[in-house]
Amino acid sequence: MASGATNIYLPEYATITAAKQMTETEMYFSFKLDSGKPLGHMPGQFAEVSLPGIGEAPISISSSPGSNGTFEMVIRKIGNVTNKIHTMKQGEKIGIRGPFGTTFPVETAMKGKDIVFICAGLGIVPLRSAIQYVMENRKNYGKVTILSGTRTPSQRLFIDELKKWAAIKDVTVLETVDIAEDGWTGNVGVITTLFSKVEIDPAKTIALIVGPPVMYKFAILELRKYNMKHQDIYVSLERHMKCGVGKCGHCQINNLYCCQDGPVFSYADIENIREAI
């Protein structure tokens, strides 16, 4: 290898420091790089998780940068890499490349503003990094609203944390499920049904939305009812990725590379991008 050059495709080792089942299909992991260095990410970024021989998968970093050298992920079991990692335990090693991609504007646009987090399904996983960041630096931000929706109550993630956040001053947490199960007393309906309970001042609010592809259109429609400016709405998009570093071409959304120009986009930047939403 040419000396001095770093190899963007070469993972480094990280060790699983905690692993626990969250729902039937989701597992929580915390990792530490074997080099001892922090990963150095900002909220909204992702990393490529390697299980050598099995493959690689882009996974959002779910924790804020503040968490003492470890970083956390929540992984849904769906294919080769994700199935395999679900069988792994504390102390086992994986490969990591990253962090990659754009970040939620926690240090720029979001500063001093009211924040609405709209988390549908797994969307809470990447958003949690920003939520944690906001909570850790609470004084830098205004009112916080967290809307969270899942298909069923048993698919809810970070229930304790949602409770904890709800207890913080000027933080509202609203939850909903598409389909109720026994014991569920909360709201039933898709996430957009929560908007009737929210007050948004379009002049001083930033909204972050993450969820399954079909959901964006509807959530944005709701926000536009509040006359929110498009550049104040942020989304995070997912595409097929092979390299994570803007070369392999798989994650292109029209002219944008999801891995480098995203995954976090301001809605203003993508509203005219036909393949985006």
Binding site: M1, Y9, G53, G55, E56, G79, E238, V245, Q252
Partner: protein, 339 residues
């Protein structure tokens, strides 16, 4: 140093010398077509070729290459940095390499590409015979005046050889009985360039290249995408033979111990059905027409917006490679420009 003139015989001697010096990959015949391959004898070199089946990008981005191996000792990557000479690259193909140079170093460096690229000495040669689908003349990619290590032009029974880099200079200094080219020789070459510009217009491009990104910008819903894509096999042939296509797939395989193994990457293509499919079988470009459009947008809009130059060099390979006969960029560009 500038430009030298040398006879056919001494030119061949020089080629033979280069073969003794370094690994040389040059254009040779394959049936009634041509390909780049390891050059073992100077007499096999066919600088009179019209076009090669595959572009020379394969020497920088091989169709399959190992990214790294893994095992007890961790992740190990190595890439062959042995110097080599790439002999007989046509100007349009050289333009494509220049584009890849930019793309593979943009924002972050691809060491595999870069190592090979640094190891290469590229000898460009001017076009002698025109391939049936060429249109580089419309794009200004019919000849190049800089960037190469050496530029070879056949003028009558002699060769003009210009060096454009230190690497080139070094090789040129090995040439025997070369004389400095005179103004008359240089103007012969300019003549050839002028002629080639007109000859390399087999496919009639009417669209204005500079306005292409804007024209494509307005043509997202043009009916041509559907019309053409209906006939598409999603075979990716147009991608794979294209000198400016560089998308790749990444795969892992184990060794027999099921612990060690390797990660490789190989050419991929945005025309292939599952190029944008994610786990759970959601395909972001499910329709053939979406994939079909994407390819031409990359050539005519997306990549140009990044590098400031149209990302089709007018080689016409895709036109011949497409069994369905639907992959002619000129047809597409003309149609969207007209709309």
């Amino acid at each position: 140093m500038g430009t030298k003139k040398v006879s056919q015989k001494d030119f061949e001697k020089w080629v033979e010398k280069l073969i003794g010096l370094q690994k040389v990959f040059g254009v040779q015949s394959k049936d009634d077509k041509y390909e780049f391959g390891a050059l073992l004898k100077a007499e096999n070199l066919r600088l009179d070729y019209d076009i090669t089946i595959l572009p020379p990008k394969k020497y920088f981005l091989p169709s399959t290459e190992q990214l790294f191996s893994f095992g007890e000792s961790g992740f190990n990557s190595s890439v062959d940095g042995e110097p080599f000479i790439l002999f007989g690259v046509h100007p349009y193909d050289f333009v494509a390499i220049r584009q890849l140079d930019v793309l593979f170093s943009m924002k972050n460096n691809d060491v595999y590409y870069q190592t090979r690229r640094n190891a290469a000495t590229i000898i460009v040669c001017d076009v002698e015979n025109i391939s049936e689908n060429a249109f580089s003349g419309f794009l200004g990619f019919d000849h190049v005046e800089k960037g190469f290590d050496l530029l070879v032009t056949k003028t009558g029974s002699d060769y003009l050889v210009e060096s454009g880099s230190d690497k080139g200079k070094k090789l040129l200094s090995l040439m025997e009985n070369a004389v400095d080219a005179q103004a008359a020789d240089i103007s012969k070459r300019s003549e050839k360039w002028k002629k080639n510009r007109e000859l390399l217009k087999k496919q009639l491009l009417k669209a204005n290249v500079n306005e292409l990104p804007a024209a494509l910008g307005k043509a997202y819903d043009h009916k041509i995408w559907n019309e053409k894509a209906e006939k598409c096999f999603s075979c990716g042939s147009c991608n794979l033979v294209c000198p400016t296509c560089y998308c790749f797939d990444v795969q892992d395989d184990f060794g027999w111990d099921l612990k060690s193994g390797e990660r490789t990457r190989s050419w991929d293509g945005c025309m292939i059905e599952n190029f944008a499919t994610v786990a759970g079988d959601h395909n972001f470009r499910k329709n053939k027409s979406d994939r079909y459009r994407h390819r031409y947008y990359r050539k005519g809009k997306y990549v140009p917006e990044k590098i400031g130059e149209i990302a089709c060099v007018g080689c016409g390979r895709c036109i011949s490679a497409c069994v369905a006969r639907i992959a002619n960029p000129v047809e597409i560009f003309n149609a969207v420009a007209e709309a």
